[in-house]
Symmetry: C2
Subunit: 591 residues, 2 copies
């Protein structure tokens, strides 16, 4: 009666080496010495850490939670997190992609990307501590002065210090133009004084590190209204001279889940901080962190769904209940294991097929991060960047919506046992729920896709997507799924056209259907990925292989996907073409 | 920062009096004196009780939960439940539909049916106590000997005693053929001795009543194997002579939600019990209780979704964030309330339209209960019974799946606030989750529909459904939705035909698509109901009415439903026609 998890290394290697051609690593001079084997070896080491350390303190994190002490305003994390944290940072994961000059390992983002899936699959709450630090490292590394980098990055990479991002305030979450936190320049130094209250600050205060480095959005005096007047500041809990800065925790939130992660109210009272990036240019800098973080949140949804699936599968193979509809499969047992029942298989396979498809989707995008930063060819970098920009909201929203759905399907597979705390699935359902909300709700992701990304550069990003989708499928015109996939691509094109025309005439038309449109994009991408994965599996089966089960399952899974998942496209297109219908006609009293 | 709820009396009256012609009450001699006005007055009284008593202890029930005392094996319910329980039973709700001869009020089932929605909307955990008692009253009333009825029904109707149903054992939930609890007849009396362990027994032990009457499934010596050898026994906690029976609670479950409801392990050790119904005929008797309970569980899903919607709506009207996409709607405020945003409206309206549609669906079925029992015409009784039998799994599964989905949409509408415990929405999400599982998982409901109900009497039940759907829409051929609705009815017919042919050849084909088929049935019914509701609203608007908002909203809501909800039918039909595809081809190692 416990959660089950083994890192899906075989699937990851298949995606990385067969589906995505080793992520073009051989074209990136920065990684001349990083072979695909080295990448897989690193991931394999990371997997052990997750399975053996992080996973073991997952349940305790939920039960014990984070304790706030109003006396000294400290926050105590679950006891078992301390050792896990030491093991995690000792292995060097905090600085895995950071330049060696600042104490990092300068490995591909891909490695950190995969580690995000594995660490969140095994302990989402724990992963928030290094996760936020990683985001802060990226942001400081990209935008802070050399002095700040020299001082702050090495201890953060080492794990002695951690990081946060401080955006939300009581009156503003999505709409950061309403920020009230103030930053006042000093007359005689590069220091600023920061005053204000931030809420929902993940890892805002805790006892895992000696210092916590806050990246804080605030307004300079006379800043322009709206998001154009927001600046970004680095505000450490402990100042360089060792004294305590004017930053304190006012309490921790009580939440549906993610109890081991400290979600803090943070009070800044005349706290000393340093500007990161240009004045009034803070939001752009923060988005370096946010965009990457959004992709990572997608992986969180996937990771939890994988653990849920493996647990449901274990249960379905063990739980004996009723006989198979066509007659006993295990007559020697008092009943058959429930995996013999078609409806149970339907639930399990939906999870399996979505998880594997979503993994392919996330990594298809994720491998482009290194290309967008390090490819010697500018056109390649731009294309990779276009693709990432367009697909970030899709990966974030779709993988977390589906992650939530699949965790719920896993719970359902367990029936009453799933609803008790014994099996731990209910914790996954509660924990995964936040992923649809934080780093921008999924509704905001859809609006980002439709309202910002699609119109950018006259639709250039969407053209890149179409090219990449076609590249996936064009060698496989003989696939049994080719015609269906071609049709859905055409539906996506038509629908995007409809959106471009009607959305430019009336932006409410686009905003009203942003959510189903994002889903449509995701499903069409999944179709192309499943088509290619099945075709590759077929090729491999023609050769001698030790992994027959794996490849046969890929072909059968593709069949399931094209029969029972992809046809949702029809429904989505009808929904989208109906536009805003009566949505905006309801008066406030008519709701 | 709290949940909002007002009983939707206007909608209930609209459904009852306009949509469903006052439930044919005037045709039922038993209710000669029960006017529609009296029914609404009763419901209105019940609504006050729910809003004013039950709702106030909803959060406490979650926080405090049920405490098990291993010393005396007692269970303490949340303190605030005691007063609420007294008010509830004093108002006579326990025996509302029971014959007057046993202390009941002999009111239509419809009244109890509506009260289930309202009481669960305001406090699901609390409602489990009287809810199980109500089920036990129905079962005893239908199947027990006159002596047992005389002794047990009056104190149960009065609320001094409560009831349970004891089915599940560690090794069996869905598959009751595996039951191990034994019943041994005594030589010299009508008593039996019951020994065994039952788990997940709702209200199995608690401190709200002096006595608890357990209805227990057990096997007589030499009983046939399978479900054909199960008998039903009445086993009181306290025996008629005042002594304690051999029944004790071994502990309470720790669950995802529903903490105020005691879910008990019950140990029967040589406990004295009396047979209810014939030997080996226990499952049939228990299903009297179960079928009614399944409809009630559907209402639970609806009830919680209504509270979630009202709370999300309140939040969306208050929370200021960003400006409307077409320009500020409330320029005097720092930002517009989020209800101006199309994507927020999309979430809210999905909830509203599903809740109102599902209420119509549930009551469309629920009003037939009284007709099936009390109509003087046998053909009418049979038709009503056919309809209820077919639709019980549909109402149970669809309303709880959608209830869960809508509670999650409500949480999403609140964003980060929804994930904290402050607003209470997360409690609704946790609580509603069990409704998809208990009283038979929703997968089991779908199999019941497809495997048992459809083939019954050569498809007679389905023919009744089609007749009733056509009756709803045939006066409204001029409806703007008529053609679309006709088309979905045809799709339902074709798909049912496909299922009948392919399912009889290969039962796996039917079992593999039972879940989407159940959903298809529900959506086609909702289409007919929304079509008629919009048509009625249009008629009412032509007359002078004080309720313009209400009727206008109905028309706009129907428009939303036909544009954005009903088109899912396309998807479902494609899924169903693909049958079992590769589902059964996966070897165990290929999952």
């Amino acid at each position: 009666m416990t959660l089950h998890y083994q890192a899906p290394l075989q699937d990851i290697e298949f995606i990385f080496s067969e589906l995505l051609n080793n992520a073009k690593l051989d074209q990136l001079p920065r990684f001349a010495e990083v072979t695909p084997d080295l990448v897989m070896a690193m991931i394999s080491e990371g997997a052990k850490l997750c399975e053996q350390e992080l996973f073991l303190c997952y349940a305790e994190g939920d039960q014990v939670g984070c304790l706030y002490n109003p006396g000294d305003k400290s926050v105590e994390t679950p006891p078992s997190f301390k050792q896990a944290y030491q093991r995690y940072v000792t292995a060097g994961w905090n600085g895995v992609t950071l330049d060696e000059a600042y104490g990092g390992q300068a490995l591909p983002h891909l490695v950190g990307f995969v580690m995000e899936e594995l660490s969140c699959a095994t302990n989402l709450a724990f992963s928030a501590y290094p996760g936020l630090t990683g985001g802060a490292i990226n942001c400081i590394s990209a935008h802070a002065s050399e002095t700040l980098k020299q001082h702050y990055l090495p201890p953060m990479a080492e794990g002695k210090w951690s990081g946060t991002m401080c955006l939300t305030e009581p009156q503003c979450g999505t709409d950061l133009g309403l920020i009230k936190t103030k930053a006042t320049p000093s007359n005689d130094s590069d220091q600023f004084r920061i005053t204000g209250t931030k809420i929902w600050i993940t890892s805002g205060e805790h006892d895992l590190t000696d210092n916590i480095i806050h990246l804080v959005l605030a307004k300079l005096p006379n800043a322009p209204a709206s998001t154009k007047g927001i600046s970004l500041f680095l505000v450490p809990k402990q100042l360089p001279d060792g004294s305590r800065n004017g930053v304190s925790c006012g309490g921790v939130e009580h939440k549906m889940g993610l109890n081991g992660s400290a979600t803090c109210v943070m009070n800044f009272e005349d706290a000393i901080g340093w500007l990161v990036g240009p004045p009034h240019g803070g939001l752009r800098c923060m988005f370096t962190m946010m965009n990457n973080a959004r992709l990572m949140v997608g992986l969180q949804g996937l990771g939890l769904a994988e653990t849920a699936y493996q647990t449901a599968l274990t249960f379905a193979k063990e739980r004996l209940q009723s006989r198979a509809i066509t007659g006993a499969k295990f007559p020697e047992l008092p009943a058959d294991p429930i995996i013999v029942h078609p409806d149970v298989r339907r639930m399990l396979l939906r999870q399996k097929v979505m998880n594997e498809g979503n993994r392919a989707l996330a990594y298809w995008v994720g491998v482009e991060i290194d290309i967008s930063e390090y490819h010697p060819d500018k056109a390649e970098r731009q294309q990779a960047n276009d693709f990432i920009q367009l697909m970030t909201p899709v990966v974030k929203a779709f993988l977390t919506d589906e992650g939530s759905l699949c965790c719920n399907l896993a719970l359902q597979t367990l029936g009453g046992a799933g609803y008790t705390k014994d099996w731990g699935i209910e914790q996954l359902v509660r924990d995964v729920r936040i992923t649809r909300i934080y780093e921008g709700t999924n509704g905001i992701q859809a609006l980002d896709l439709v309202g910002r990304k699609l119109p950018l550069y006259q639709g250039r990003l969407f053209a890149v997507l179409l090219t990449k989708i076609n590249q996936l499928i064009e060698p496989y015109t003989d696939s049994p799924h080719f015609a269906q996939q071609q049709q859905t691509i055409n539906q996506l094109k038509e629908t995007t056209q409809w959106l471009a025309i009607n959305g430019s005439k009336d932006p409410e038309q686009a905003a009203a259907v942003a959510t189903p449109y994002l889903r449509l994009v995701a499903l069409v991408c999944l179709g192309a990925l499943w088509l290619k994965m099945a075709a590759l599996a077929k090729q491999s089966l023609r050769q001698d292989t030790f992994q027959k089960d794996f490849y046969q399952a890929k072909i059968k899974s593709a069949h399931f996907f094209f029969s029972k998942v992809l046809p949702e496209v029809e429904f989505l297109c009808t929904d989208i073409h109906s536009g805003k219908t009566s949505l905006m006609d309801f008066e406030l009293d008519e709701f």
